[in-house]
């Protein structure tokens, strides 16, 4: 059970790349840096030449928490919320969940790989422990 994001011109590629097995992050074609959240302009160099670009989907857990509070009746079991930094660039990170392992197996620094959960027209990028 997940609340879904509104897909906008800027965010659609992030949320739907999973249909093609791709995690797509916005990248500046001029300064070559990735940035997040997606926007029509590079926040580092102000270039308008930006493109959603597939990345490896590999990263590491920067920090995480195990949520115990049952915020809604539908989601009552403990789950892991993590901030994952992608291997492409220092500081390129976003908040997600670590899935497919017991919550207490997750550690800071743990290598992870993206997996997608499809709900309606959204492919939510989640992470699991890297093989």
């Amino acid at each position: 059970m997940r609340k879904l994001p509104l897909l906008s011109a800027e965010t659609r590629q992030f949320w739907t790349g999973g249909e093609f097995g791709e995690l797509r992050m916005h990248r500046c074609e001029d300064c070559s840096r990735f940035f997040h959240p997606p926007a029509p302009i590079c926040r580092y160099c102000s270039s308008l030449n930006v493109t959603p670009t597939p990345v490896s989907g590999r990263g590491r857990v920067v920090t995480f928490t195990i949520n115990h509070q049952a915020w809604t009746p539908e989601v009552s079991d403990p789950y892991v919320v993590a901030i994952v930094e992608l291997e492409e660039q220092a500081g390129l990170r976003f908040l997600s969940n670590v899935v497919n392992c017991p919550p207490d197996a997750v550690e800071i620094g743990m290598p992870v790989t993206v997996v997608f959960e499809n709900v309606e027209d959204v492919w939510v990028p989640l992470f699991e422990r890297a093989a």
Binding site: V62, T65, H68, I83
Partner: protein, 396 residues
Amino acid sequence: MDSRFLEKNVAITGIGQSEVGRPSSRSAMQLTVDAALEAIADAGLNPKDIDGVCSWPGDNSNGSSFSPVGPLSVMTMLGLTCNWFSGGYEAAGPLAGVMNGVMAIASGMANHVLVFRTITESSNRTSGSKDQGLAAKSGPRDGNFMWQWCTPFNVLSVVNITAMYAALHMETYGTTPEQLAQIALTTRRNAQLNPKAVIRKPMTMDDYFASKMISTPLRMFDCDVHCDASTAIVLSRRDMAKDLRHPPIRIEAIGAAMNQPYLWDQVDLTANAMPDAANAMWARTDLKPADVDTAQLYDGFSILTMMWLEGLGLCPKGGSGAFVEGGHRIALDGLLPLNTNGGQLSGGRTHGMGYVHEACTQLWGRGGERQIRDPHVAVCAAGGGPLAGSLLLVKD
């Protein structure tokens, strides 16, 4: 100090606060009137003297319990004629109403500004009303600039994010859960001396560790407690403040900088925007962190208080755990008395303005049983993640 920093021409001249209920039977508007009239009378003014009204976040969400009353309804209720008024969420956190009022006076837009903040999250919870935070996030699709990156991952409260800050602080600096607990224990101890605090039962370290885990490593006692309350202050032109009831409390400096993206996972995860605001504040004064006699720091979640201690330079970066160890430095009779009314963890989530009210209470020597010894300089700070604002107050 540079005369460009015009906040020094502004002073706090009165404070007021409604009852702090958990819940209160009084309406949001009644609580607001209670606080406003008390603050105006405390300054030695009457409502007709008020020519400006500011609040953060104002009536930002259709009467939501997070902020059910805004400046427009207060102006209307009190029959004020205002030269300046402002409310709105997009500003430097819960102290932004004070900053907007200060800037209105400093720029000559007003002489006496009422700043207030009303919150009714307690009665909202107990009434099962639909407007509570979670339900408000349960619409069909999330397009909010910040929340759209959180709710798809079942992050429905920023507790999960502040918990990740805490986990990283522990990993990076070796901060221990026992050290973190000192924020909850200290505020509870102080709350026992504050008749208006909403939770006054003694708390031991064992009680802390027995409290429910919400989101590792944060427990229920690391999270502030809902209440129904309104808190108000009167800001006045300093040259008009001298003849009022109390010695004016000068706005020595304000800090409102944000040099990072506005997203809770994109900010510096061990510092947040706190040093941005704090450094901007210290750049506007000759005073130093060592001059501070008491700190009233945001404790929506305990880890944020620890990060504010560091961000403001009241202890070294990464050193807040050692600083609060054992609790003696931050106790009422310690080096730096912290959240002397019980903060939001035990005093009640008045959400920002309570810190200013308490700082003034202490500076004016009106703290009763919890009064600290002869304070002259107080720092107030509020916010977490990408939102941060701070105020330095000096009793003239």
